[in-house]
C-alpha cells in the first residue's frame, strides 16, 4: 500500500497510525464518547493527550469518565475501572446511557460495511450456513441505533467495503434493497431511529463522509490516489469534487501515539 512508503521520522508511517490520528481529530474536547477497544481506544486516548484533554470516555463494560493508566487489552480490563468516575451495570449502560440518549460519539467497525454505513459483524455467507461465523453484535447494534453520531474505523478492501452486506448487524443511513423488496429500504428517519447514524468512515486510505445518505470520498492521505481508494471499494464510490488531502501527522503527535499510548505496539 502507498502508506507503507510514507515516512515520518525514522519509522515508516503505518496505516493504523494514520487512522488513529485522523480519527482523533474528529473528537472535540468535552464530548461524551463510547469507546471501543483497539483503534478507537487509541484515537480517543490520543485526543485526550493532545487537543481534547477533557474528552469524556465511556466503555461498554460500564466505566464512566474513564482514565486508563495503561492500554486496555480487553473491554473489561481492570485499568478501565480504577480511577474512573463511576461504574455502572450493563443494564444502565444500554438502557440509561445509550437508549437514554447520553452518547454523543460512538465507534464501530466490522467485517463488512456498505455505502449506507450498514455494518456486518455477524456472518460471512448465509446466516444459517455461514462461511465464517463472526462474533455477532455485542453492543454494536445499539451503538449504531442510539449514538448521536457514529464514526466507523475500518481498513478498505473490496471484501470489507461491499456492495451489499451479507447480514446487517448495525443500522446505517438506510436499509438496502432486498430480493423481496428491490426498492431501497427505509431511511433512519422513516424507521424512527433515535441516533444520527454513521457520519464518517475513517479508513487506511482516506475518509468517506456520509453525504445525502451515501458514503462519499472526501479526504485522502498524502500519497494515496483516488484510483487506489476506488479499487479497494466494492461499490462505485462517489468522490467529492473538492477532495482534501490529509497531511501526515506531526512528529510530536506520532511520538505520543507510539511511545505513550501504545508503547508495546499492541494495536498499531
Amino acid at each position: 500500500m502507498a502508506t507503507d512508503t510514507a515516512n515520518t521520522g525514522a519509522k515508516p508511517l503505518k496505516p493504523s497510525e494514520r487512522m488513529a490520528v485522523r480519527a482523533s481529530q474528529e473528537l472535540k474536547d468535552r464530548q461524551v464518547v463510547f469507546v471501543g477497544i483497539g483503534l478507537p481506544n487509541l484515537a480517543c486516548n490520543l485526543a485526550r493527550a493532545t487537543h481534547a484533554p477533557q474528552l469524556f470516555m465511556i466503555y461498554e463494560s460500564g466505566t464512566i469518565g474513564t482514565l486508563p493508566a495503561r492500554l486496555p487489552v480487553s473491554i473489561g480490563d481492570p485499568t478501565l475501572v480504577t480511577d474512573s468516575l463511576a461504574i455502572v451495570s450493563q443494564a444502565d449502560i444500554f438502557q440509561g446511557y445509550l437508549q437514554g440518549g447520553l452518547i454523543e460519539v460512538g465507534f464501530l467497525g466490522g467485517a463488512q460495511v456498505d455505502k449506507y454505513g450498514n455494518i456486518n459483524t455477524t456472518v460471512i455467507g448465509d446466516y444459517d450456513n455461514p462461511k465464517i461465523r463472526l462474533p455477532g453484535s455485542g453492543g454494536a447494534c445499539e451503538i449504531a441505533t442510539h449514538s448521536q453520531q457514529v464514526l466507523i474505523m475500518m481498513r478498505m478492501s473490496p471484501k470489507s467495503f461491499v456492495a451489499k452486506c451479507d447480514f446487517v448487524t448495525s443500522p446505517g443511513s438506510r436499509m438496502d434493497s432486498t430480493k423481496a423488496s428491490p426498492q431501497l429500504g427505509r431511511t433512519r428517519t422513516e424507521m424512527k431511529l433515535p441516533g444520527g447514524g454513521p457520519t464518517k468512515a475513517i479508513t487506511d486510505l482516506g475518509v468517506l463522509e456520509m453525504i445525502d445518505g451515501e458514503f462519499t470520498l472526501t479526504e485522502i492521505y498524502e500519497g494515496v490516489t483516488v484510483e487506489q481508494v476506488k479499487q479497494n471499494c466494492g461499490w462505485e464510490l462517489k468522490v467529492a469534487s473538492s477532495l482534501k488531502t490529509i497531511p501526515n501527522p506531526s512528529t510530536e503527535t506520532l511520538d505520543i501515539l507510539r511511545n505513550k499510548i501504545d508503547p508495546e505496539n499492541l494495536y498499531l
Binding site: R30, P78, L85, Q99
Partner: protein, 312 residues
C-alpha cells in the same frame, strides 16, 4: 424521535442555593424535589418559597412536609404523587385544605402508586415513552387516572398496566458528597435519586460535603449520579433537616411530631414559614436559628465501614 440530552461538562458548577434555584426552577415548571424520608433537600424547598416561584407541578412519590410548605405558600398548581402524608405521624394539612370537598380552592392532583411513580421515572430515565408493570387490576387507581393505560404481552397475551415516562424539568437531589462537577456519591437509602437525575432536563445536586474528584475516583462503584447530568452543585451542610443524611445527622423525629400541631392551624403554619423560611436569608441562618442544641442532639455517631481494594 430524538431524545438526546446535552451532556454537561463544565468543570466547576458550584453556586449558592439562591443562584441554583433562580436559574433552574422557573414558574410553571415540573419540579421533582427528591428524597424518600432520607436526603430531602428542605434547603432547596425553602429557597423556592423565598423566591416565590409559582404555578409549580410538584412531583414526588412521597410529597411530605416540604411539599406541604410549597402548597401552603401557594406555589403549587398541581401535585403528582403516590403517598402524601407526614411519615409516621399523620396528614399534610396544607394539602388537605386544597384537596377536599370543603376546600375553598383546590389544586390539581394526579395519583399513582409508588411502583407506578417509580415506573414513570424508569421510562423517563431510559429513553422510553412508557413502562410496563403488573399492577392496578382490581383497584380504582387506573379508573381515576387516564394516564394509566395497558398493553398486551406479545408472548403470553397477558395484560399489563403501563404508565407514561416522567421527565421533570428540574430534579433536585441531596447527596452525602459530590465534587464540583456534580459527580455524586450516596449511601443509605437511595429512593429514586438516580432515576430522577437521569430523567430530568436539569439537575441540581446539593451536597453535605464537596470533595475533590480524586475521592470520587477512589471508589467509583459508590457513584450514583455522574456529573454529566448535573447543572448546578450546591454545598449545603445540614441541608436536609428535619430529614436526615446517613453518616451526618439523624432524622429530627420530634420536629415531625410537632409539625402536626404547627401545620393544622393556618395561623401557626404562617408563623412557622415567616420565622424559618421568610425570616432567614439562607440555610446557614436557618440552622443558626434552630439553636445550638440541634447539632448536639442530631449529629451522627460515627460508624465507618472498611474500604475495598480497587487494585489490579
Amino acid at each position: 424521535m430524538n431524545h438526546f440530552r446535552k451532556p454537561k461538562l463544565t468543570p466547576n458548577k458550584l453556586v449558592s442555593m439562591k443562584e441554583a434555584i433562580a436559574d433552574a426552577v422557573k414558574p410553571g415548571c415540573n419540579l421533582y424535589l427528591e428524597g424518600f424520608t432520607h436526603l430531602i433537600s428542605f434547603a432547596a424547598g425553602h429557597e423556592i418559597i423565598r423566591q416565590q416561584i409559582k404555578d409549580l407541578t410538584a412531583i414526588r412519590l412521597t410529597p411530605d412536609l416540604v411539599y406541604d410548605q410549597l402548597i401552603e405558600a401557594g406555589l403549587v398548581k398541581k401535585l403528582v404523587f403516590s403517598w402524601a402524608g407526614n411519615p409516621g405521624v399523620g396528614s399534610l394539612h396544607a394539602l388537605r385544605r386544597v384537596s377536599q370537598k370543603d376546600s375553598a380552592k383546590k389544586i390539581e392532583m394526579e395519583e399513582y402508586s409508588h411502583f407506578g411513580m417509580v415506573a414513570r421515572l424508569l421510562a423517563g430515565s431510559s429513553g422510553l415513552p412508557f413502562w410496563p408493570l403488573k399492577n392496578y387490576e382490581g383497584t380504582h387507581i387506573a379508573e381515576v387516572n387516564p394516564k394509566i393505560k395497558s398493553i398486551d404481552c406479545p408472548y403470553t397475551g397477558e395484560k399489563f398496566a403501563t404508565v407514561p415516562a416522567l421527565n421533570p424539568d428540574v430534579a433536585i437531589v441531596h447527596v452525602q458528597r459530590a465534587d464540583k462537577e456534580g459527580n455524586a456519591q450516596v449511601w443509605g437509602l437511595m429512593g429514586t435519586q438516580k432515576e430522577a437525575a437521569f430523567a430530568a432536563e436539569r439537575v441540581i445536586v446539593v451536597a453535605e460535603e464537596i470533595v475533590d474528584t480524586s475521592i470520587i475516583r477512589r471508589d467509583p462503584n459508590r457513584t450514583l449520579i455522574p456529573g454529566i447530568l448535573v447543572d448546578h452543585v450546591v454545598h449545603e451542610p445540614w441541608g436536609c433537616h428535619p430529614s436526615y443524611a446517613q453518616g451526618y445527622y439523624d432524622r429530627d423525629n420530634q420536629f415531625y411530631v410537632d409539625w402536626e400541631d404547627i401545620s393544622r392551624d393556618p395561623a401557626s403554619y404562617k408563623n412557622y414559614l415567616d420565622a424559618f423560611v421568610f425570616g432567614v436569608k439562607d440555610r446557614h441562618e436557618y440552622i443558626q436559628k434552630m439553636g445550638t442544641d440541634l447539632m448536639s442532639r442530631l449529629k451522627a455517631k460515627p460508624r465507618k465501614c472498611e474500604g475495598v481494594d480497587y487494585g489490579y
